[in-house]
């Protein structure tokens, strides 16, 4: 069961999505923006509101890479794994990130500061290898730039 505060926040989110056609993704984005992840105890609240089963909500949450069931680190570093970035050294860059952070894809550093996520293209394919730190884009990321980014993120 969700606590009173969570329930109240959820009522606000659900009310503001009442007029949308097909509101579930916008609702989930709003929930994640609020809590940093999709807490398990809001699933039933969403299901009741949308008149669908808990399993259906769960199915949607787990289908999409963006939605997480636990909080991420303080900063999320995404590194592009796709072909155009591979053509200019993207794989070596992610290998370096694994080494520096001591985690693999989807891992969070021991100090809780950085979560590393793969991304398949950021639309920066003419200035790869590309990365994104908390929604901020970075192009032509070489070893030096990566080290700086990770240090700034507190890795």
């Amino acid at each position: 069961m969700a606590d009173a505060q969570t329930t109240e926040i959820m009522q606000g989110i659900l009310a503001s999505h009442r007029d949308l056609e097909g509101p579930l993704l916008p609702i989930l984005h709003a929930v994640q923006a609020e809590f940093g992840f999709i807490p398990n105890d809001v699933v039933q609240i969403i299901a009741d509101d949308q008149n669908i089963t808990r399993a259906e909500v769960h199915g949607v949450i787990t289908f999409y890479h963006d939605f997480r069931d636990a909080p991420a680190g303080k900063h999320v570093v995404k590194i592009c794994r796709a072909e155009a970035c591979q053509a200019v050294g993207g794989t070596a860059l992610s290998d370096r990130a694994f080494e520096k952070l001591g985690v693999g894809w989807h891992g969070t550093t021991a100090n809780g500061n950085v979560t590393l996520e793969p991304v398949y293209c950021l639309g920066l394919c003419a200035c790869g290898p590309a990365a994104m730190v908390d929604g901020k884009v970075v192009g032509r990321v070489d070893a030096e730039k990566l080290d700086k980014l990770l240090a700034e993120a507190g890795a």
Binding site: E21, H29, Y64, A87, G123, C125, A126, R140
Partner: protein, 505 residues
């Protein structure tokens, strides 16, 4: 003095915000009257941040700029590139869809109108729905998302369909590696897309539109959302579009990181708030699309090209191109290239010219080994296929596809077995899981390629067989086209597969 500093993500990723801030700060210190305009990008990404200074002769370019160059810029001592419009890259193009991108302030509707914007919509308002559809059909415009289906025919089906509500859905889930045309136009000239959607609405009698925009593009989301608000305030969107008495409004919906949602039926499911699994066709989305109602699903570039077709006339557009590939195509040049960016040109330019001349060969200077055309589901083209002209049928004839028109160039250090493996791995990660050939086939594909990599040459036949099954048995292009990169790598670069075999023996 007016100074333009792009706000495009690629420019930002290379430091454009720092440059813009430095210009504002330095101008303030010097007491100069400088107006910094944040424009879109011209598409010359290797020159970003490309700063332009307005002069009586035209806009003079400086790039790639660093914030530390700003004092010299304001002293007039920084070496320039000359007039931006006169650069070879710009002069060689036919910019129709991207005519305003990089030129105007993307969020100024006045700027937009001053450069030809809304002329197409005004013309469309005076036309019957069927005549708008006929105009688009005559232009020869085909789906720029990759499938290449004639846009006018699709619209006609929706126009003829009955329903309590029809929709225009813009597919802005541009997930293909090597493509960024959708992002560039949404950030650099968002009103073009909005105008295209309104025209589509008038043409098929739809009053509601959605843009399904991928979450990996936060800057594009931000700009397009602002543009929609401005368009609504100006009466371009709303209950009475430009005083025509007809209604059209739209919303931006953000995806959630699933590549397969670029497929139109899974996009519709996602938009409805479901898992983004593919739907079997028929029924066509044109008849039973969003919420089961008649829906036009078009790619960003298709819709963003509609205004210029209405503005200049269908024939003007159709006069460009090659064979059944009419008009222009914004080609995105990416990967290991000297000059990466967006180059809009009439269909028909041979791949060789695009790679060797326009892109200037590789960034590393090493020979070009392969070019993947059309995203992660496109074929790897070897040098001996470089004479292929850029067109839908022409690439199809070479066992490839143009997809969303991205080129990803690799130099001779590329390991094609590794690229084939990646294609299967990507398919396994992104498969929606609905059909077996894709869901299981991709996993088996990775294993089979690993066996080849470990020297099991006999597994090659198995891989070919698996690819046949995926091609014939998958519901959508993800499973159905993953064999393109895999088989083209295998067939065009057999040494990369055989070498491993010898090494292991």
């Amino acid at each position: 003095m007016k100074i333009f500093v792009p706000l495009d993500s690629a420019a930002k990723a290379l430091g454009a915000d720092d440059v813009a801030n430095a210009i504002t700060a330095e101008a303030a210190v010097r007491g100069l009257d400088v107006k910094v305009v944040r424009n879109g990008t011209r598409g010359m990404i290797w020159l970003e941040p490309l700063v332009e200074v307005e002069t009586a002769e035209g806009r003079i370019g400086y790039g790639a700029m660093d914030a530390s160059d700003v004092p010299a810029l304001l002293d007039g001592k920084l070496p320039s590139l000359g007039l931006v419009e006169q650069l070879d890259w710009m002069k060689g193009q036919t910019r129709l869809t991207f005519q305003r991108c990089g030129v105007i302030d993307p969020l100024s509707l006045a700027d937009y109108e001053a450069h030809g914007g809304l002329a197409g919509l005004r013309r469309a308002i005076g036309m019957d729905a069927a005549d708008i559809v006929a105009e688009v059909t005559t232009s020869g415009l085909r789906g720029r998302g990759g499938a290449g289906f004639p846009t006018g025919i699709k619209w006609n089906t929706v126009l003829g369909a009955d329903g309590p509500q029809k929709y225009i859905v813009c597919n802005a889930d541009e997930g293909d590696s090597g493509t960024f045309a959708d992002r560039m136009i949404m950030e650099g000239d968002p009103f073009t897309l909005i105008e295209g959607m309104v025209i589509a609405g008038l043409a098929v009698e739809a009053t509601k539109g959605y843009v399904y925009l991928r979450s990996e593009y936060p800057d594009a989301i931000d700009i397009l959302e602002k543009a929609v608000v401005l368009a609504r305030q100006a009466g371009v969107l709303g209950a009475d579009v430009l005083g025509s008495g007809r209604a059209f409004d739209m919303e931006i919906r953000v995806g959630a990181g699933a590549y397969v949602c670029g497929e139109e039926t899974s996009l519709l499911n996602s938009l409805e708030g479901k898992r983004g699994v593919v739907r079997a066709k028929p029924p066509l989305p044109a008849l039973e699309g969003f919420l089961g109602r008649p829906t036009v699903v078009n790619n960003v570039i298709s819709l963003a090209t509609v205004p210029v077709i209405l503005e200049k006339g269908a024939q003007h557009y159709a006069d460009f191109g090659l064979g059944r590939s009419k008009g222009t195509i914004p080609i995105q040049i990416a990967g290991n290239v000297k000059f990466g960016g967006l180059y809009e040109t009439a269909f028909g330019m041979p791949l060789r010219e695009l790679v060797d001349t326009v892109a200037g060969g590789t960034l590393t200077g090493a020979p070009v080994k392969a070019v993947q055309v059309g995203g992660p589901l496109g074929a790897y083209m070897p040098r001996d296929k470089f004479d292929t002209p850029f067109g839908y049928e022409e690439f199809d004839g070479q066992g490839g596809l143009i997809g969303h028109a991205g080129l990803v160039v690799f130099d001779d250090s590329a390991d094609m077995l590794g690229m084939a493996r990646f294609a299967m791995e990507f398919c396994a990660v992104e498969s929606c899981g609905k059909c077996t050939p894709c869901r299981i086939g991709a996993v088996r594909g990775v294993e089979t390629i690993d066996r080849i990599g470990q020297g099991d040459g006999g597994a090659i036949e198995l891989l070919e067989d698996l690819c046949e099954t995926m091609k014939d048995g998958s519901l959508c292009a993800l499973g159905g086209f993953t064999p393109y990169p895999v088989l083209s790598a295998l067939h065009n670069f057999p040494d990369d597969f055989a070498a491993k075999k010898q090494a292991a023996e």
